[in-house]
Amino acid sequence: MLKVFSWPFNLYPFNMETLIVTEPNYASIKNQESICLSKIPILSYGKFYTEVVNFMKEPQVHCVNYYGYSDGEKVKFICCLADDNTSNIKVFSHEIQKKEKMQLTSMTREAYALHIYEREISENFGVEFIYSPWSKPVRYAFNRADRTKVINNYPFYKIQSEELHEVGVGPIHAGVIEPGHFRFLCNGETVLHLEIQLGWQHRGIEDLFLKKPALIQRTVLSESIAGDTAVGHAVTFAGIMESLAGISIQDRLSIERTIGLELERIAMHIGDLSNICIGLAYQLGASVFGALRTPTINYSQLWCGNRFGKGLIRVGGSHYPLNNSLIESLEKFLNNFEGRFVTMAEKMFSLSSVLMRMENIGTVSKTQMQLIGAVGMSARMTGIERDLRKSHPIGAYQKLKYAPVLDVTNGDVWARAALRRKEIIASIDYIRNLISQLKANDETSNKPVSEGSLKLMPNSLCVSMTEGWRGEICHCAVTNDQGKIHHYKIKDPSVHNWMALALSLRDLEISDFPINNKSYNLSYCGHDL
């Protein structure tokens, strides 16, 4: 604190406040930067509460992770707020002693987007959040605080009325998809409220990151967090390990990874467009888009042997460098794909019978999405400017600017489909630019680093974020004094976005649920971990 001399205040020619330097209440880092734990100030909960709630009021700030981890007799908390304008991540921390009854005042009332984090902390550690609007269980993790509560008799939200009825769906759904439960409270055909309960997919993956310490085990685990986002999660994990080990990767590798990420986006977006067409009974679109997904994922197989890009991302290097013949087939694939895709998409988006099933169906507002902290596509389709490729870029995204698609803002099923259509084209263009960079690059590819050569910084925290096809993926790792991973936290974008689906269904006909669900295509296993 700068000393303030005892001069009369009005003698100062300038505002004194600008001169007073106070210790910041947070540590500021960039995406994929590691920081020594001792540099993160541990605040009293009162101070933590005020700081976090105040920052969350700014529209460009959102919480990318807030979680607790056990450390001896204490539960320590890390809260990361990302500032989209400055590309900074503010890291806040507080801690409490472990005891029978742990209580904290809930921040959810003032910053609604924090609900999911507080509920998770409450479920995992038994912390009671006073004034929490609803401490609904998140996933019934196997190492939860209260094992007497089980998922199969979860008491769903009820409204007493003779005029209402409930429709329960799940955990096993009609199609070949992951399990989860949807409970609709309906007035006739109209949905008053949709409650989503998840947790059936819980595999204890965060715990396995500690139990299976070999690098290849953790890499394979990261590819299995959500099988449809294997590249996204693996890139995020590799970023953490490389940052903690002080490895700077080659430009070439960074470009290749980014091509992998954008290909994953194209493959999933086109698959989703096909599913949306199935949902609205448009057979031609369903077939053509479905058939276009095949060459996309087959390209992945040609590149790395797996249609989902498993095996493509390894820490520090690659087993499958993108050589000239692969680049040539990639260009061929993109040209062929683009022609067929553009014709089909133009047709689909000009048919009134298709449009009437998408327009003004399942509309959510920008304000709602701000409030729930929606990320990725689900945020952008209402006009929120939230894309890590622009706001917190790393690697190739830093060198070659990506311009997010922001002109689709309706917030309905149409917007979710139209945004996919535009993002596919944007990704194709972006990959073409990456290819020309790759052609100008003369580095020889590195092999992945070996287990033994990897030394992680001790007592550190690393935050790694990637814009996956669904949105913001965020992993956080804390190391102990031996440089071993002490805690690993995973956050899939779906954690925030499931609430968007519930909001979309309000006052909608229940028969519109499938098309809404398909238009979001959120991850169950990414949420359940």
Partner: protein, 252 residues
Amino acid sequence: MLFDEMKILLQHGKQFIPDVTKPQLPGPYKGRPEISANKVDEQALTALCPTGAIGTGPVSIDMGKCVMCGECSFTFPNKIKFTADYKIATNVRERLIVKEGDVNPITLDENKIRAEIRSLFGRSLKLREISAAGSNADEQELNACGNPNFDMGRFGIEFLASPRHCDGIVITGPISENMAEAVQVCYDAVPDPKIIILVGSDAISGGIFAGSGALNRSFLDKYPIDLYVPGNPPHPLTFVNGILEMIRKKKN
């Protein structure tokens, strides 16, 4: 107006694979491994495997555990080589263990296929898929089996919604504790003779999730398994060929 659709159909062309038993998979696809007789540091070799799929004396790879990361073949390329052979489904768990010197394809044991499977399901097999903590990669590949390319519907194989209309269940994922009851309830609802198919290394052995406290695999101890389809995730051709071999007698 109509010209647009004609153009699309022309571009779309014929998508189906005429004979699903024939295609060659391009690229470094990892299918059935072959293990040579070369001497290597076996301890170093087994330590590489993330799921403990590699055994010694003689060196073997358990395809039910293998997650196809290829780490062993990168470090010991002269010892282990993954071929592009995708026909790796079988009905005998032991046949998934490929030993040193094995170069023959993995097949089903004809004698262990239940008689009613051949007599009832040869032309029509309806299945209920249960994703029991599957990562959505296996599920997407199963969906792809019915798409315009692989089109298993032409063989009468189809996924249905109600277990009461189905002839068996297909399980993906390592079976979480939270899904254990749902798997049992669904299986009970399928009429006899019900068949069980495990798809993916997660379902067959727990895969990379083996040993997690969040799993409950006791369901698998109770019933015989009719088909194992290994992979991470299995290629649609692995699934379709495995099922065809199970429900139909070989022509030759």
